[in-house]
Symmetry: C2
Subunit: 209 residues, 2 copies
DNA sequence: GCTAAATAGTTGCATATGCAACAGAAAAAT
DNA sequence: ATTTTTCTGTTGCATATGCAACTATTTAGC
């Protein structure tokens, strides 16, 4: 999915023009937003890294999604009524654009160029997110740890047009993304290595099939 | 997520006006579309039921998604390069609107009203799909069959604003949706019933907690 | 540069869950 | 109305995987 909208370049010139969008800055460890349902908030991560975190009824921390440059998030995409707390936590310095979906059709006061660009490119950002979500479902849908790992690695490899690629996650986070026990995943990775399916060197993976 | 765009009413009056959209009809068992990557096809299921099917390298059939009225699908949402065959199969009579994402910004020849309405409502349909995808991920992310079942039932219950609700799937398909073994799921449902967590009568479920 | 924290890597054990193989009930097809 | 197919429900068994409990290594903070 190509995205012709580089928000970080754009933002410098026009953001102050628009009455409906707002840029905010966050330091590592700060909460960017909480998912409370009802506001129709859309957030675009201009740059930085952040996680969508949930604490379940037992108090266990759970990383639902990882966000990086150009990712969109916000409770409007996540209208799921579990009675857990959801919030987005900055993993490093973050620059975030806040916008309301209510202003998707409406224009802002002086038909500003920024607003217009934002609105016309939002569907592209949504499309990219949908592809990401489908990848996640595809991977989670595999039975067995081995199948999950190989399924995900195959997708990464094809996205990189290369049998060798860098994992976008730490192994701890990868286990979380695949929703498997970390130690069980490490065991399986070892077996995959021994069986000659993959080569692994730090977070650099090479597929041998 | 409220959708103010009832495509099936709209379609009667305007569809022939638009040069870029096309309505087609399918009988049960017919293939509506295949996911080949490259066309930017978007499909809207006006009415009917259809499944996104994949045959994996072993030849196993796999139901990836179920579609019903107002759902959108198409390979543009599923740019995942596994070398499997994906296609959408009609489960009953289906009325489907075909449209290209390329015409999302562009207008069609005479600025027709239908095209305009379609374009301005597509983001709403996408939003609804994203919520659905997030629900699926939420459910798949639960460890253990019991947690998956209860997680999904809780969401269904809250969507219905009622402790009692009808399952939208057969138990066979539910197991598929939760990505667990059907017999293991049935066993767990029995235990949940015995433990007094749920009541179950055909596909009518009641939560007792 | 030192200390603390986070991540990677390993293993033994218990059990949840996949698999196979049924029979009965319900739904479609003829 | 009868047959065929699909769906539901159940059970025994084997094993994949979660869990706990470590140590080693890397990264971050002071």
């Amino acid at each position: 999915m190509k995205i012709d909208f580089n928000i970080s370049e754009f933002i410098q010139d026009f953001s102050t023009e628009c009455t409906k969008a707002q840029v905010k800055y966050f330091e590592k460890g700060e909460i960017i937003t909480t998912y409370l349902v009802n506001r129709n908030q859309i957030c675009i991560l201009i740059n930085g890294n952040a996680d969508l975190i949930r604490y379940d009824f037992k108090g266990n921390k759970n990383i639902i999604e990882h966000f990086s440059d150009n990712d969109i998030f916000g409770e409007i995409f996540y209208k799921i009524n579990t009675n857990n707390e959801f919030f987005v936590l900055a993993k490093k310095k973050c620059e975030v654009l806040f916008f309301s979906y209510d202003y998707f059709q409406k224009k802002c006061k002086n038909n500003c160029k920024f607003h217009e660009a934002l609105v016309s490119n939002l569907p592209n950002l949504m499309l990219k997110k949908m592809v990401d979500l489908n990848v996640h479902i595809e991977v989670l849908s595999k039975r067995g740890i081995r199948e999950k790992i190989l399924g995900y690695f195959t997708i990464l490899s094809s996205q990189n047009l290369n049998k060798t690629f860098l994992l976008p996650y730490s192994f701890t986070d990868l286990a979380d993304y695949l929703n498997v026990d970390r130690s069980a995943m490490m065991r399986e990775l070892k077996i995959l290595k021994e069986d000659g399916f993959i080569k692994k060197n730090g977070n650099k993976i090479t597929l041998l099939y």
